[in-house]
Symmetry: C2
């Protein structure tokens, strides 16, 4: 197990947190600074989230902005917003100065508008200001909103020697060199140069003769999802971003895309579970309650609707009370089938896996529902017949179940496809939305079919 | 829109598919080969999945294994399995020969055992065989199962000049150079060398004097999830894998981790939606039905349980039929609240976000449930009172609702925490499992509380 410990480079312990709090209370700034020297910024962010705001702010103000700027980027959005409120515009400007343009822009766009301008005016590096102002124009969720201006680019007309010399200058600005992009005199993207090729090639040769003209790229207005799918499909570590004239504007790296993919997946998961997006387990009770209430309210309305419906079938109640005992089963099956069929469509849409037409899809779902419905109804039939000894009742409930499952499957398939066509996130269709509407549909179909069979 | 078209480098059209089918039917191999020259292997995989197996196999056999090996890796697992069945062991060996060791091992491990040995014996490169045999030993879901043997490493005692020379040799074997790892004479990992540093440093200096000793790494037995969280947290493009003695064994790249993250998210989503994992929208009806039936069967059992329970309260039916009209509402609310609270715990566990103790967590959930319960019950009370004009009934149903919501919230919080402690995937707790048990619990609590209030 020795290696396991060695491996976890940093372990957040209560002792360590207490030590930090004590140092803050004693204003022992020197010892405090030293405690953080060896710790990775992602770990410092975890430590800060364990402290209260005044202590966290104290540490942010104490440490070098070279380090704290990276720490800020690792913090949870809400927590960062609160920390930024405690910093002066000058202090924020110092942090922003240290960050790559994409992160700098993210921080600034989180500020209220009046503070944005003040912070920008206090940044010293004029190029950095120009880049940030450009990036602020793009939509958050577009390639432009994801890209950074930092990249290494070389001109097709340079020699390898000049190229290496220029790259040294540019590389000092860039945290990690993924690819070297090749442009023409008008800054239009021509291709790329792998560092590997550069290492292997003759210093006297011309870039024009060694670069690879096949290069993946995205347009500045493409959606973040599109960028993610391209980078995933073609296994790219970074991708250049161009404008309509093919001019190279920036690049997007895979680590930002990994975050995007995780966020998308979490959003879908939360929608399916009936939580409006963007809550963490550690959020306040007020926020958590607010995230759940709309869905529960929808469920309540659905339940009231179902109750009103059942009230309309009161005449059956006294002859066949057993029909009423099975309404939760019918509602549950309608809900489950609906969620299953919509979830598989939502996932297929997200992965661009759906090649059939809507009609084929609905046909397949119907066959599937008939199959599942008959198997389940057969089991239910046996149970009810043994319980109630009335073959008509057992038949009525079982046949209704098949009908309910078929309709639920079709509704579950159709709604996400419909929403997607309308440009609405189909993930909304899963979870309480479909469960609730299927509850009502299910119960209505159930009583109608049962009533017909029992010949009222 | 011009740029949009230019951007999507390859568009799969029905015309193109038909053209390919025609060429196959005419045995026009030359034209067929030419059609694929300019197409990326990820796109070829998409084309093959549109064709039937005999056609797809024809193309795999026709094209160079240098290209088809990459195509095979992009195919859906099930589809690849079927294609591999149509290839001879010699043909598979040729494909495997072209692949990096991690992909090669994946392909071989998918084969039946007797074919595995035959394929391995037909690989020509002895080093490749040794690497694959080593990788086959590791668990699929461990760092060892994810890593590739291909990497660029240099000895601390080399000069930069020797280093560049050796790297040229090694780099030709490696598709993409992420990092250069520095080892001692015993192959123990000492640190890393960025290509950037190598570009910038004096050719005469010694590696010992320029390498960075701080290097992230994982142990060969670490779980895939652990690797993913480390690489995400520290924004790594690649990470070296070492054994217990710190000997460098291989490296894992971010593209494999992106796939892992997506798979994990999809698995959780499917569990929440009540689909046993690993189905795609395009799978056969038989497979899709099989993936859904277990959960529906669970729902059926739950519904039968609820029906039996309600049968036990038949005495109430004739005095207060309205109580029975609200059972779907109660079941739905219990299910929704349970899924909401378990989903937020499952997500918190996945992100390592849960810092509180179990007691704190249950307390928070209780407060939240009381709050939400009272708001919803108040609305329900007003509705029922206007409908039935009986204040006792309205009170009984509303108070039961609060009780049901509280219990559902606690159960939804407790079960995933409990499963996680027992080493079981907590994601199972969401979806039909919790919905079903909460249906029964909910209805039982509902009738018990209502009965007490209405004083039977």
């Amino acid at each position: 197990m020795k290696n396991k410990d060695q491996n976890k480079k940093f372990q957040l312990t209560e002792n360590f947190i207490q030590e930090i709090i004590d140092l803050i209370n004693n204003n022992d700034d020197k010892k405090l600074s030293n405690s953080f020297v060896e710790i990775h910024h992602a770990d410092i962010a975890e430590i800060l989230e364990e402290l209260d705001f005044s202590h966290a702010t104290y540490i942010i103000k104490l440490l070098d902005s070279e380090k704290t700027s990276d720490v800020l980027m690792e913090l949870d959005d809400d927590y960062r917003e609160k920390i930024l409120k405690n910093l002066s515009t000058k202090e924020i400007a110092e942090e922003v100065q240290e960050l790559d343009t994409d992160d700098a822009t993210d921080i600034i766009s989180e500020l209220p508008e009046d503070r944005q301008k003040k912070v920008i005016s206090k940044i010293e590096d004029k190029d950095h200001i120009a880049d940030i102002k450009e990036l602020l124009k793009y939509d958050d969720d577009s390639a432009g909103g994801l890209m950074a201006k930092e990249l290494v680019k070389v001109n097709e007309n340079w020699s390898v020697t000049r190229c290496v010399k220029e790259m040294r200058l540019q590389a000092s600005e860039v945290t990690r060199v993924h690819s070297v992009y090749v442009v023409d005199n008008n800054n239009k993207l021509l291709g790329r140069l792998s560092l590997k090729d550069l290492l292997v090639s003759n210093p006297k040769s011309n870039i024009k003769s060694i670069y690879i003209s096949k290069v993946d790229f995205v347009s500045v207005n493409d959606s973040g999802e599109h960028v993610a799918s391209i980078m995933q499909k073609y296994d790219l570590g970074a991708i250049p971003v161009v404008d309509d004239n093919h001019v190279l504007l920036g690049r997007i790296t895979i680590d930002d895309i990994v975050d995007l993919i995780k966020e998308e997946a979490e959003k879908d998961y939360q929608l399916a579970a009936g939580i409006t997006q963007d809550v963490d387990v550690d959020d306040s009770i007020y926020k958590l309650s607010w995230a759940r209430l709309p869905w529960l309210f929808l469920g309540l309305l659905g339940g009231i609707g179902a109750a009103a419906l059942m009230g309309g079938f009161e005449e059956i109640l006294f002859n066949y009370p057993i029909l009423f005992y099975f309404t939760p089963l019918i509602a549950a099956m309608a809900g489950n089938v609906g969620v299953q069929s919509s979830a598989i469509i939502v996932q297929g849409l997200a992965n661009d896996d759906i090649n059939d037409s809507v009609n084929n899809r609905l046909f397949k779902e119907t066959v599937l529902s008939v199959l599942n419905g008959i198997i389940l109804a057969a089991i239910l039939f046996v149970f009810i017949y043994y319980w109630d000894n009335n073959i008509d009742v057992a038949l009525a409930i079982s046949i209704s179940l098949v009908a309910v499952i078929i309709v639920a499957g079709i509704v579950g398939t159709f709604i996400p496809l419909f929403l997607n066509k309308r440009g609405i996130d189909p993930a909304i269709a899963t979870g309480p939305f479909i469960t609730t509407s299927n509850d009502i549909f299910g119960i209505l179909i159930y009583f109608m079919v049962a009533k017909t069979i029992l010949q009222f």
